[in-house]
């Protein structure tokens, strides 16, 4: 961590936590802690409604006793709770069966050299209601200028300090900031919601997003459903394309899913799995992205990794554990956790989809559509099936396109397709720029072979 950046409190030294676990009988141990502070302001009916300030410190301890692994954790505020957690973890490990494949905790604890551009933004770290409320007020004005009001919005900013140590190394630590803006606009029965995230306050982008949401809420009030079902083309706006990647491809690229028999990409390293025009990489050092980091959730250094190069499957997302069980498609460095005491599982930081060619604008893609839909928002895509690649969603906001022109707004369109067809033989083109949200960065995509109803 750099001078002036937030750190764990002085009474929480992770190397001492690890040693305590070892003294209590652990063969090996790891400790992972996250301290954070967040301020959030909520808006309802275009008026600021409330403000929330929270500070948390969470500790997770996992231990192995002769290959049996268990964890304990929770929010802590003093050394007494730390010792309780360590004792609970050691006691738990003594009560479970050993994992015959247990390789030990990550032996390579370190952070990738250099820094991540924009990882920590002091102004964002210190933002409070006084900085966030004006962003919401400006958003409400922007929405009003487009003929809609804001039913709900929020602006949240804060910092997070992470640190990791285990029996073989550490601690490593780093601090980062984040900003999340969410907006839902309403006009009559038309609504539209969207969000953006960054490592810094984004007042201008937030205002623009509110204006866009308002314009789309107005359009949605006149939208209609489709008449009948047809097989056609779909243009996925960047946010929709990104959600498809995180819902269907990221889980299938997990080495854990490969090992445990839950991935359609198992045994396919070196094979053509997507269109030769598409390259997919995980970029954990992407500038200004909240998920970017120099080490993963088990203290392993991170590095950019090509997962699919020109359509060929090159690598999987790996943790130290999965790489020891399936030594193909490495390296490790992709560990993520639901909570600091949960087991690490493979996950992406920023899954970046790069087409070989990018058209200048979405209009270029629309001109190529014979009959299809532009999808700008959906519900339910997260329920798609990564084990089979089956994509299902309902397009809540979109446009019907016929013979290269937009006919009008549509809503409630059922969408079903095979993601490996859409991004394989069904891939027709992409238009820039790449937009990043959550753990994905993608351009707009034109794909063929979806069932629309």
């Amino acid at each position: 961590m750099e001078a002036g950046e937030p750190q764990l409190p002085g009474w929480l030294r992770l190397e001492e936590v690890v040693r305590l676990a070892e003294r209590l009988g652990a063969s090996e141990a790891e400790a992972y802690a996250v301290a954070s502070r967040e301020a959030q302001v909520d808006m309802r009916s275009s008026r600021v409604e409330r403000s929330t300030v929270s500070t948390t410190l969470t500790l997770g301890v996992r231990v192995a006793v002769k290959g049996a692994v268990a964890g304990a954790g929770g929010r802590v505020s003093g050394p007494g709770q730390v010792e309780e957690i360590v004792r609970a973890a050691v006691a738990a490990a003594r009560r479970v069966q050993p994992d015959p494949s247990w390789p030990g905790f990550n032996p390579r604890v370190s952070a990738a050299p250099g820094g991540v551009e924009g990882a920590y933004h002091p102004e964002t770290a210190e933002a409070g209601p006084g900085e966030l409320a004006p962003i919401l007020a400006a958003a409400a004005s922007a929405a009003a200028s487009r003929g809609a009001s804001i039913s709900e919005a929020s602006a949240a900013a804060g910092w997070e300090a992470r640190a990791y140590a285990n029996s073989y190394g550490g601690p490593v630590g780093e601090a980062s900031t984040y900003y999340v803006f969410y907006v839902e606009a309403v006009r009559g029965e038309g609504t539209y919601y969207d969000y953006l995230d960054s490592t810094r306050l984004e007042p201008r982008a937030s205002e623009e997003l509110a204006a866009l949401a308002a314009a789309r809420a107005v359009e949605a009030s006149q939208a209609r459903g489709l008449d009948g079902a047809f097989r056609g083309q779909v243009i996925l706006e960047p946010g929709q394309a990104g959600e498809m990647l995180s819902t269907l491809l990221e889980p299938a690229l997990s080495a854990e899913a490969v090992i445990e028999g839950r991935s359609p990409l198992a045994g396919r390293l070196g094979e053509q799995v997507l269109s030769p025009s598409l390259t997919l990489a995980d970029d954990p050092h992407r500038p200004w992205r909240p998920a970017s980091s120099r080490f993963d959730a088990e203290g392993h250094p991170t590095a950019a990794k090509a997962l699919v190069a020109s359509g060929r499957l090159e690598a999987y997302l790996h943790t130290h554990y999965t790489l020891s069980r399936h030594p193909h498609g490495g390296p490790a460095g992709n560990a993520s956790r639901r909570s600091p005491w949960a087991r690490p599982a493979p996950g992406a930081s920023s899954l970046v989809l790069r087409p070989a060619k990018l058209h200048a604008s979405l209009d270029d893609l629309v001109a190529r559509v014979e009959r299809g839909v532009v999808a700008t928002a959906n519900i339910g895509m997260w329920m798609s099936r990564p084990e089979s690649g089956r994509l299902t969603a309902t397009v809540t906001h979109g446009y019907l396109v016929e013979r290269g022109s937009i006919v009008g707004p549509v809503k409630g369109v059922s969408l079903m397709a095979d993601v490996y067809h859409l991004l394989g033989p069904g891939y027709l083109g992409a238009a820039g720029p790449l937009e990043c949200r959550g753990s994905t960065c993608a351009p707009a995509l034109l794909v063929d072979g979806a069932t629309l109803a």
Binding site: V76, S151, V186, G412
Partner: protein, 473 residues
Amino acid sequence: MGRGDGVDPAVVADLFLEEASRLGVGYADARVQVYRYRLVYVENGVVKEASYTTTAGLGVRVVEGGAQGYSSTTRLDRQGVRAAVEEALSAARAVASAGGLRVELAGSPGRGRARSAYSRDPMQVDLAEMVEVALSANRAASSVEGVASSATRLGVQHDWRVVATTDGGLAEVEVRLVGLVQSATGRAPGSSLETVYDGRSMVAGWEFVESQDWESLAIEVARLAVESSRARVPEAGRYDVILDPEVVGLLLHEAFGHASEGDLVASGASVLAGRLGSRVAPEWVTIVDDGLHPEGYYVPFDDEASSKGETVVVDRGVLRSHLTGRVEAARLGLPVTGNARVQSYAHPHLVRQTNFYMKPGDWGLEEMLEDTRRGLLVTAKGARGGQTDPGQGTFTFNMGVTYLVEGGEAREPLRGVSITGRILEVLNSIDAVGGDLRVSTSVFGGCGKGGQLVRVGDGGPHVRVRGMLVGGR
């Protein structure tokens, strides 16, 4: 770790009341929580995770000058409590200075103490016993031919909350919740992978886990996964659909329950805004939100200390109520229904459902099947869940195991079924309501809204909907 790990929420609540009084705030409330969770996760015969979680903290809301500010802390001594009240007061003043929405509080909070019933405290069960239950279910699923992957999750929870308000409310609630969920991924020769899962959870003690035949459940899940993997995907289009009780619960919760939440109604983001007293469904449809249903989650008080009983939302087809907390009730001029809930002490209040379900009718399932010339019977086994856009009233659900209904029988298994529609149109297309009410909850998930997840229950009887839009090939 002990019952509250040295923290007595009632003592912390007293400290809060003293500090709020000392600072002279207009109104304040506190949520003191001790939360403990144990999880065992077994995948393909290996214990992948065995974990204990314990968290104790205090959340404070202050309403000052009509503006709300929230703060939270894990430091539960007088100094920590005082700092939390001061921080919430400061946050409220910041909202007031930004010209924020003025809030008022309707109704009066309750006072009481409630604890869900149990015989054997799940938090005292030896972890080795939990592991053995999960392992035996996992092995049973793996023994079914064609199963590519088997995963078993066993969880137990103890959630102990005290809510104290400066206008006299004081509610203490303890809930124990246990459950197991089995998932299996199957692949018949020449087919793609298909995952099915099913489980059971109950507000109870370990005796519920002991009473269940988890191996049979696991084997059934595994067989369904393999069967589903060789099933075909139906053509997209409109079908007469019989929904099983869990699907009805999902549908009502997502597509109708959220739209009836008073915060969404007040901000105009609900398709039900302005419809109180209107007919929204046929007369054979009655929908309630009940914090005390014995098969659902246990919510005798909400997180504002308002008591929560049964709220009739739709009475024989007519919309009678929205769900409210004290703020929304004041804003909408409606009664307080006890639905202001928080995920944890650190979160602000949102209007949330408790156990949302449809009351039973008088159709039998066999009768419904016999009366359906051609249609689908969809179940929640393996369903990924659902999502709704409450403003438009649009919903979508990714369904689990599904059967083609022909000639009065559920015949061919199908997969890849999603259902989509507009809730008011779908409610009005219900022409048969079964007599077999089932309500369920889960120790592994709940309802997500505004970044918060709370435990809920939902359900209903079997229901038939005419002409439902089904996504398929």
